[in-house]
């Protein structure tokens, strides 16, 4: 029996251990590594993640042993911000939802750390890489453990920072640096939504007299927020919309997905960990965490589902035409994230979250497999230069295939189960259009998955003799994580049933107490009818998926000429689809936002210099003019008058001065004359 209090007080270790690891590698690791080699770097980094994983597992075990309704561990550290009614303690919450995320993040995080030992072996930035990776885990774990919105926001922006640092890891190339900047900026736009949602929620709770941003309190308060309004709309609607906007940034949905394909500029383990398995699912996590808002705002849910469906489908169509192995996977990630949001949008938060889990396994596997391929190819990422790699890379090939089939929805693999649940819940919620869209997407997914596998591993090598000679399977530190993830892809799907095989949906049972439940819109359907319908839906999904896979195999494996011929028949269309199509959003943003904004800033700066400062300088010039004219007035008129007076005085003085000539005789003579005059005058007066 594990004592909940003990585990509760250890919770802070989950994020802190990687933070300490990051600090170590930021300041000390490089120096220690000089004498001890790489082990001093990755040893600490991996150990830190292992600690997080261990505590998470212990916490999970502890939760399992607790009664369902009491499953929650909590640790309050100190008051972070407390100003008047605004009180944010540093509070970590470990409930079924955060437990799932913690296990995924630390588990897959550890595997990717281990993988990086081999992948980054020759990189001069080895300590820096592990520092960033650990820092990322700190931020991500803060995100999933944070008990209130501001705390989640710390993680939310923190993962954005790490994403920036890791996309731009090889910063000496301008392309990478530009991708990093773009990622952070687009995410910041989304973060604005998060901030707005946060302040809307706070002001609403303040108005009903119990200001808070803590999830557990908000969840209880939620019904009272229904009547509160903000700018004419109900608060839950506004807040839910804000948080979804935030999620479209972090989790790469329309309209803010544009950063993710570019983010592939980072090292491949980063793409696997951050841009596939964990960070990009933060948006889905946020929606699950705030699910109590979404169940009160079904209209927002519908928007979420629609946006998600369109994103899933659009990204899948883009993925069909990519030649860069990582780009295919990147668009596939965008598309799969769409499935997760689709689930959340129709109120099936558990299903969306389950897809997060399975996707983390198979997409991490695929990226790491792609990394292994790139490693063997000496940095080449273009599938047109590959082919036939199955001979040289047997382990990579086998595991990659498991991942591809899982992604494509091959029956009984992880991706199949989770996607099936989402599809079924979309259908059951009565969104016919969205179901069609999702089904189409799953056909496209199956198609591009097999296309990628066939182009990479099938057929003959197309990269030239020189390269073929150098092909080699990756070291053990890279293949072991691949194998473990492949095993995960085979096993993990069974957690969720499927119910029509008579199994229990353990995942739903585990996580649903932590999620809000969408009020049932439709009248209750007979369970038996429903079960039959679900089986039919599953069969449809299987058929569609297999058809997509078959089609791809025919076009690229069995008769490779077909694809070429088709492309030659429609050169313009194919040229567009393989070219500008993927950056259609980028182009619009560039034309409608970036360029006008830059023009506006230049115009404003000129305005500032010429007009605002011009007024100041103008005022100064005016005063100078005034002073000059008053100077003229003063000098010519006022001073002129006195000057004339002075001249007069001087003339008088000069005249008088001639009298004072300093000769005693003339003085005496003057005196004599004066005496004579005075005497004469006296004589007259008398």
């Amino acid at each position: 029996m594990i004592d909940p209090h003990t585990i509760g007080s250890l919770l802070c270790l989950i994020p802190l251990a990687p933070l300490l690891g990051a600090t170590y590698n930021a300041f000390i690791g490089r120096r220690v590594a000089k004498s001890m080699g790489h082990l001093a770097v990755h040893g600490v980094a991996c150990a830190a993640v292992a600690v997080s994983l261990l505590v998470s597992v212990a916490g999970f075990a502890c939760l399992v042993s607790m009664p369902v309704e009491a499953r929650e561990l909590r640790q309050t550290l100190f008051s972070w911000i407390h100003v008047g009614s605004f009180d944010v303690p540093i509070e970590l919450v470990f409930d079924p939802l955060s437990a799932v995320m913690c296990l995924v993040v630390t588990g897959i995080g550890l595997l990717i750390h281990v993988y990086s030992i081999g992948y980054m072996h020759d990189d001069p930035g080895y300590p820096r890489f592990f520092c960033y990776l650990n820092l990322f885990l700190f931020a991500m774990l803060t995100l999933v453990l944070g008990g209130s919105l501001p705390l989640v926001f710390i993680g939310w922006e923190g993962v954005g920072l790490c994403s920036f640092l890791l996309i731009g890891f090889w910063f000496a190339e301008s392309k990478n640096a530009a991708a990093a900047t773009k990622a952070f900026l687009v995410n910041r736009v989304g973060d604005l939504g998060f901030l707005a949602g946060m302040v809307v929620v706070f002001s609403a709770t303040l108005r009903i007299g119990s200001p808070t941003l803590s999830f557990s309190v908000l969840r209880d308060l939620a019904p009272r927020l229904q009547d509160a309004s903000f700018l004419g709309a109900a608060v839950p609607v506004v807040a839910a919309a804000c948080f979804f906007f935030a999620a479209t940034g972090k989790s790469a949905q329309i309209p803010l997905f544009v950063w993710l394909p570019d983010a592939m500029a980072g090292p491949t383990p980063v793409s696997a960990l951050i841009h596939a398995a964990t960070m990009v699912t933060a948006g889905v996590y946020l929606l699950c965490r705030t699910s109590f808002l979404y169940v009160m705002a079904p209209d927002v849910g519908a928007v979420v589902a629609l946006v998600a469906g369109l994103t899933a489908c659009f990204a899948a169509t883009v993925a069909l035409f990519q030649h860069d192995i990582k780009k295919v996977l990147a668009y596939s990630t965008v598309s799969q994230l769409g499935y997760m949001f689709l689930g959340c949008g129709v109120g099936a938060f558990g299903a969306g979250l389950f897809h997060v889990v399975t996707h983390a396994f198979f997409k991490a596997l695929l990226f790491l497999g792609a990394g292994s391929v790139i490693h063997a190819m000496g940095g080449e990422q273009d599938v047109r230069q590959m082919g036939g790699l199955r001979k040289a890379l047997p382990v990579t090939t086998a595991t990659f295939l498991v991942g591809i089939l899982s992604l494509g929805g091959f029956p009984l693999l992880a991706g199949f189960f989770s996607k099936d649940v989402v599809l079924w819940r979309v259908l059951a919620s009565g969104h016919g259009f969205l179901y069609g869209l999702a089904l189409l997407t799953s056909a496209l997914t199956a198609f591009y998955s097999i296309r990628l596998a066939v182009l990479t591993f099938g057929g003959a090598f197309r990269g030239g003799h020189e390269r073929e000679h150098h092909l080699h399977e990756s070291p053990r530190s890279m293949t072991v994580p691949l194998v473990l993830l492949a095993v995960g892809c085979i096993v993990v799907g069974w957690l969720a049933g499927p119910t029509w095989l008579g199994l229990i949906d353990r995942f739903a049972a585990w996580v649903e107490p932590a999620l809000a439940v969408m009020p049932q819109v439709h009248e209750h359907v007979d369970a038996e009818v429903e079960e039959r319908a679900e089986i039919v839906a599953t069969c449809v999904a299987v058929v569609v998926g297999l058809a997509g896979m078959g089609g791809a195999w025919v076009m690229f494996g069995w008769a490779p000429g077909v694809a070429r011929a088709l492309a030659d028949r429609l050169p313009v269309l194919h040229g567009y689809l393989a070219g500008r199509y993927r950056s259609v959003f980028d182009d619009v943003y560039d034309r409608c936002i970036v360029r006008p904004l830059l023009a506006a800033t230049r115009a404003l700066a000129t305005f500032d210099q010429k007009v605002v400062d011009g007024l100041v300088n103008g005022a100064a010039a005016l005063i100078r003019l005034l002073s000059r004219s008053s100077g003229w007035f003063d000098g010519t008129l006022v001073d002129g008058f006195f000057q004339r007076c002075a001249d007069l005085a001087r003339a008088l003085g000069r005249a008088m001065a001639s009298v004072q000539n300093g000769r005693i005789q003339s003085y005496l003579m003057t005196l004599g004359w004066a005496l004579a005059v005075v005497l004469l005058l006296l004589e007259f007066v008398r």
Binding site: F78, S79, W80, I81, H82, V83, G84, S85, F86, P150, F153, I154, E157, G158, L161, F164, G168, F171, A172, E173, S174, N176, A177, A178, A180, T181, F184, L185, R188, V189, D191, L192, L195, A196, V199, V200, F202, S203, L206, R207, G209, P211, F230, L231, L597, L598, A600, T601, R602, L604, A605, D608, Q609, V612, D613, L615, V616, A620
Partner: protein, 519 residues
């Protein structure tokens, strides 16, 4: 709390002790000037730390002398009721600490000055006295004396040790600020004459005036038509707004910054700008609570314009120092937004933002100085790939940029969040516009980072010195504070809280109903 030792006077005038020592140096001993100056700035730093530790975080200050701390009061010019009166509360403590902290760092950053050192360091010490004095003075005349005392050394420091256009910049700074001072002086005189109908009980004592704020509110109109509160409020505000600087009175700032030597830019942005917002907190709000409430929305509007306009102008700059100067305009907008919010979150946020901007922008200007010393230019596009040749410099700059764009766990995030939150509670729409500054700020900072540090290395700078220990010494304390206050902001917020609450009480009742419910 009345301490027997005149701590505030000691702190204010301690730097002046260095001046005769420096001036007395003979020609051969000129290199000692910087060490004496550094030594002279240390007592205020130590006393600042003492103040921060000893400061009673329960007392509000603001409007009652009994809740001010470290008060000193002597008659100065009895015939005009002028006192030598010093004291601090939550509004001033952080700024005094900030000044005491930045001055020694700036002296260290000035070690490279090689022309007329004796004059430079003497003027700098005089400047410190003026700055600390401004923040501790509680008598309007005394305040004005310190306020003007600061101007003079600043003028010479820019005008003599500045860049190519230093004379233009110095005169512009001096005259512009003087114009503001004039408005301020007229306001002060008006306050004196309105303080009481009986000439015998007129006063320049700030707190007495604050106690009589209802007398001021009902004072007869100026020239028979202009309402007293309105005219005096705007006169004071104009004086302070030029200092902040509030749009459209900001254009002296980029010029002064670009021409000023590094350390003076740091002081200018780190301390002098805060005097504007400090003045609004210290004078406009307590003296005219009602009128302040009436024009709150104007302040919010000006704040939002500052945030957005400053950020947009920053984005268009090609000179790194000018970019950071405009970013100051943007960041000081948050303070105005916080003031206009008229609630505890806004006030505390505004006060905290003043401190945080002081530390962060000090780092930024120090970093600009580093690259200017080496490359002798500041054109953002003239660099490229510097992270390869100056990794430590790149790391510090990256840190400072992320601090400036308000990354959570760094101090500015907390203050900007509080300003936005406070603003949102009273003026949601204005605040939403202001919040876009968060994105714009990230845009110009990251774009700059990308152009200067990433991409292909500019061959000209393949061999260039990375940060020297002396430069690291100036940056590390600031970085530590930025992180510490990001994680544990209550260390600082605690000192603001009683004062902010008291201000809310003063302004509150007449204002938005929300404020009454938000303790």
């Amino acid at each position: 709390m009345n301490s027997s030792f005149p701590l505030l006077s000691a702190m204010t005038f301690a730097p002046l002790l260095g001046v005769p020592l420096i001036l007395g140096l003979r020609e051969g001993q000129r290199s000692l000037a910087k060490w004496i100056a550094l030594l002279a700035t240390l007592p205020p730093l130590v006393m600042g730390v003492v103040l921060f530790v000893v400061f009673d975080r329960q007392l509000a200050g603001v409007d009652s002398i009994r809740t001010f701390q470290f008060v000193e009061s002597w008659y100065w010019i009895p015939s005009f009721h002028v006192y030598y009166k010093l004291g601090i509360d939550g509004l001033s403590l952080a700024l005094i600490v900030l000044t005491a902290l930045l001055c020694p760092l700036c002296i260290i950053a000035s070690f490279g000055i090689a022309r007329a050192e004796k004059a430079y360091y003497s003027l700098f010490l005089l400047l410190e006295t003026g700055m600390i004095g401004t923040f501790v003075a509680l008598d309007l005349v005394l305040f004005y004396v310190f306020w003007e005392l600061m101007l003079l050394p600043m003028y010479f420091l820019i005008g003599i040790w500045g860049g190519p256009r230093r004379v233009y910049a110095a005169i512009k700074f001096f005259l512009y600020t003087l114009a503001g001072s004039l408005a301020l002086l007229l306001g002060i005189l008006a306050l004196y004459f309105a303080s009481s109908p009986d000439p015998a009980s007129r006063t320049f004592d700030l707190l007495t005036l604050v106690q009589r704020h209802d007398v001021l509110a009902s004072a007869g109109p100026i020239l028979g038509v202009f309402p007293f509160a309105g005219v005096v409020w705007w006169a004071l505000f104009l004086g302070f707004a030029i200092k902040v600087p509030v749009f459209p009175f900001h254009t002296w700032l980029p010029d002064a910054h670009v021409e000023a030597p590094t350390a003076i830019s740091v002081i200018l942005a780190g301390v002098l700008l805060k005097m504007g917002t400090y003045g609004i907190f210290r004078f406009n709000l307590p003296l005219f609570p009602e009128y302040s409430g009436m024009v709150a929305q104007v302040m919010v509007g000006l704040g939002v314009v500052n945030i957005v306009y400053g950020a947009l102008c920053a984005m268009a700059q090609s000179d790194l120092k000018k970019l950071i100067a405009y970013s100051s305009v943007s960041h000081m907008g948050f303070v105005l937004l916080g003031i206009g919010a008229m609630n505890a979150q806004g006030f505390s946020g505004g006060l905290f933002q003043m401190f945080n901007h002081g530390t962060v922008t000090a780092m930024l200007f120090l970093l600009v100085g580093v690259i200017y010393d080496r490359a002798h230019h500041r054109q953002i596009d003239g660099f490229g790939g510097l992270a390869t040749s100056m990794p430590r410099y790149a790391a510090f700059t990256g840190f400072a940029f992320f601090a400036a764009l308000g990354l959570p766990t760094l101090s500015s995030f907390v203050s900007e969040l509080l300003c936005l939150l406070g603003g949102f509670l009273t003026y949601p729409l204005w605040t939403m516009v202001g919040a876009t500054g968060v994105v714009l700020g990230a845009a110009y900072l990251l774009w700059t980072l990308q152009r200067m540090f990433f991409g292909e290395l500019n061959e000209k700078y393949r061999v260039i010195d990375d940060l020297k220990p002396r430069e690291v010494v100036t940056l590390v304390p600031l970085a530590v504070i930025v992180v510490l206050l990001g994680i544990q902001p209550m260390l600082m917020l605690d000192t603001f809280h009683p004062a902010a609450t008291r201000l809310v009480e003063l302004v509150g009742a007449a204002m938005h109903p929300l404020i009454a419910t938000a303790p």
